[in-house]
């Protein structure tokens, strides 16, 4: 009892001697910490946590000219996009958060879009892109990525024409994003006069791609476009090497930008093209390298050039919007919709949900580093044909 009284007295004394502290603002998000998407969501979580650490060290964030401390409220959506809307609704109505960060992946962004509309709560998306969402014209979600499937389809076809590609093998994972990319890629290839010699789709639980790869080997195309996610991207890489697929242009859509890929494949990753629009080597973006270094320092591994970069951009955009608009939702929405933001990926400005300033780009691994090779105006290196696989 005595101890409790002493403790109460101390706390009271501390309370009266200190100036009244700023009430922390609450920032919430739900993300796949467990379940089948957890491995893929991991780099985005690490990026959020890096920011949390930096915010704590800086004593908070600037809310319309006042520095306010931040309290984070996070949940696990268990890789279930049915749960995501419920959790975001809870964050808004029960936890009464001031700001929200995005979940991982296109299906989850899709899932929460309705809730954001219902409560008119603005969220800067990141690891997602969907022509379908863009066409619905929601008013409270934005995509900083320039990897929007219709733009990617057209740009990839241009890139292939520049490389004098005449034939392509296309393999597609049956998930919304890769299927959307395919939907726009196929007509673009046709109008570019590129003949599709293999066209296979497969389900996410695939364990072996030998049959498809054997067909590709027989067809010997100039290019292979593997519209895949990390786990089947690995199946492609392993199988293509075993079968010695010699196509000089080989695109592996999602996965190569993750760190474990280079650990797993070493020099065999060289020459592989992947989607992405960020590189720490781009001198035009002065914030890129410091972000890379901070991430590297905290995690002892490089950030994912796709999801980590996008997650960080979404935070930068939100932070800058809150700096001018404060916490009023309508003002934040107005700021995000109209202002130009300075990010690790250069300036970003939205038209509808879409970032109009960042061009659609492609990366290629050269000597273990991801370099921007398309478009030429943004390139940090020149495309090199894939020179085969190590024995």
């Amino acid at each position: 009892m005595k101890t409790a009284l002493a403790l109460a007295a101390t706390l009271f004394a501390a309370g009266v001697t200190q100036a009244p502290a700023q009430e922390p603002i609450k920032i919430g998000y739900a993300i796949s910490k467990t379940g089948q998407f957890a491995p893929a969501a991991h780099t985005q979580i690490q990026t959020y946590e890096l920011w949390e650490e930096q915010v704590a060290a800086a004593g908070g964030i600037d809310v319309a000219g006042t520095k306010r401390p931040v309290k984070f409220i996070t949940y696990d959506d268990q890789s279930d996009f049915g749960k995501a809307p419920q959790i975001y609704e809870k964050l808004i109505t029960d936890d009464k958060v001031d700001l929200l960060l995005a979940p991982w992946g296109t299906p989850f962004h899709f899932a929460i879009a309705g809730i954001l509309e219902k409560y008119q709560f603005p969220v800067v998306g990141n690891s997602a892109a969907s022509v379908t969402i863009r066409d619905i014209k929601p008013g409270n979600i934005w995509f900083p990525t320039s990897c929007i499937p219709d733009r990617m389809g057209a740009e990839l076809a241009k890139f292939l024409v520049q490389q004098k590609v005449k034939t392509a093998a296309v393999t597609t994972l049956q998930l919304p994003f890769s299927l959307e990319v395919k939907k726009f890629l196929m007509p673009a290839l046709q109008s570019a006069g590129i003949k599709v010699v293999v066209n296979d789709e497969y389900a996410p639980d695939v364990k072996d791609l030998t049959a498809t790869l054997t067909k590709i080997k027989q067809a010997a195309p100039d290019s292979v476009l593997s519209l895949s996610y990390p786990s089947d991207s690995i199946l492609y890489m392993k199988g293509a090497r075993e079968l010695d697929i010699k196509a000089p242009f080989q695109l592996v859509l999602v996965g190569p930008a993750e760190h474990f890929f280079s650990k797993m494949f070493g020099p065999n990753l060289d020459g592989i093209v992947t989607m992405g629009h960020w590189s720490p080597h781009e001198a035009k973006w002065p914030k890129a390298k410091p972000f890379y270094d901070a991430y590297m320092k905290k995690y002892n591994e490089p950030p994912d050039y796709l999801d980590s970069a996008l997650a960080w951009m979404s935070i930068e955009i939100l932070e800058q919007a809150v700096k001018t608009a404060g916490l009023d939702k309508a003002k934040i929405r107005q700021a995000i919709s109209t202002e130009t933001f300075d990010t690790i990926n250069g300036p970003v400005k939205f038209n509808g949900v879409e970032n109009t300033l960042t061009p659609t780009m492609f990366l290629q691994f050269q000597k273990g580093e991801a370099q921007i090779v398309w478009p030429v105006s943004e390139a940090t290196a020149t495309f090199e044909p894939k020179s085969g696989w190590t024995k």
């Binding site: 796949s32 910490k33 467990t34 379940g35 089948q36 957890a38 491995p39 893929a40 969501a41 991991h42 780099t43 393999t171 049956q174 296979d200 789709e201 497969y202 389900a203 639980d205 695939v206 364990k207 072996d208 791609l209 030998t210 049959a211 498809t212 054997t214 067909k215 027989q218 990390p230 786990s231 690995i234 199946l235 392993k238 090497r241 075993e242 079968l243 010695d244 993750e258 474990f260 650990k263 797993m264 494949f265 070493g266 696989w389 024995k391």
Partner: protein, 298 residues
């Protein structure tokens, strides 16, 4: 499409590698089910832990995954034995629990599966991990195959063969089969059922850990990689016959062949339809499994 591809050594090699891994998983699953009627849906998590053990041994100390697999098998066998003694034996002693052992075990192991997945994710993060070991490409009879997959085939194939010989000729192996055939009769002729059960748990866990270590050499590992293997394992033991160990090996070959040749003939998007089509056909036409005898009510 050129159908000559069906006769290529490349596809055959893929079938054999996949089948040998499936067989390791399915034999362990089937042993535990056959002898004790326990539906271990956490079996895939043992595969996952075996994968992590091999990964860490290689990443931290540069130990060959094949050597680490041996150590992993011994540790997994120990854990298996311990779990039997500490938990399962108690279930068998209570007549009330024993009466509902199949349905209860399904729920208990489902819970264990989720707990193990999430503890692993907390301990090692959910990040995918991989390494490269023995990844030179070797050409054999027209097939090009990475040495690690060849090693997988050799080790898993030899282990399956050793298991088949063990069940046929070794006293303990025969005792396991006897318990699978008729538990009470086996006890009556003097088989120490409790001791054999410990061995079954140890062997089943060890085989799963071996499968995990081998898988980690050629695929990425994550805390959530195990469940698909459990599902494949169940499809195989239904195909080959519940409790039928040779059937498990044949079932593995069939499932792998359906996956590889089926998608070659049709399309990879038909994989799940083919696999579950075969599964449902087996349930309808031969519910006792391809090699199983029809089950009489007991």
């Amino acid at each position: 499409m050129d159908l000559s591809v069906l006769f290529s050594a490349q596809l055959l090699a893929s079938v054999l590698v996949l089948a040998s891994l499936y067989a390791l998983v399915a034999i362990g699953l089937n042993l535990v089910y056959g002898t004790m009627r326990l539906l271990n849906v956490a079996h895939g998590e043992l595969v996952m832990l075996g994968g992590y053990a091999a990964y860490w041994a290689f990443a931290q100390w540069g130990i060959s995954p094949l050597l680490a697999a041996l150590a992993g098998m011994v540790i997994a066998a120990g854990i298996g034995g311990l779990i039997y003694v500490a938990v399962v034996r108690r279930l068998f002693r209570s007549p009330n629990l024993l009466a509902r052992i199949e349905s209860n075990s399904l729920l208990v192991f489902f819970g264990i599966s989720i707990i193990v997945q999430n503890i692993t994710a907390l301990a090692f993060t959910a990040n995918s991990r991989g390494y490269s070991y023995l990844d030179d490409v070797i050409e054999i009879g027209g097939a090009r195959i990475a040495a690690n997959r060849l090693a997988t085939l050799a080790v898993a194939g030899a282990t399956c063969l050793a298991c088949a010989l063990f069940f046929r000729y070794a006293r303990s192996g025969m005792a396991m089969r006897a318990i699978i055939q008729h538990r009470d009769a086996a006890a009556l002729v003097g088989i120490d059922v409790d001791r054999v059960n410990v061995q079954v748990f140890a062997l089943g866990f060890a085989l799963a850990a071996l499968a995990g270590a081998l898988i980690s050499m050629s695929q990425q590992i994550s805390p959530f990689m195990g469940f698909p293997f459990t599902v494949s394992g169940f499809v195989i033991i239904i195909l080959g016959g519940l409790g039928n160990l040779t059937g498990s090996i044949i079932g593995s070959l069939i499932l792998a062949a359906v996956e590889v040749y089926g998608v070659t003939l049709m399309s990879p998007s038909f994989r799940s339809i083919l696999v579950y089509g075969v599964f449902i056909a087996a349930l309808l036409l031969r519910p006792q499994g391809l090699l199983g005898r029809s089950i009489r009510a007991r």
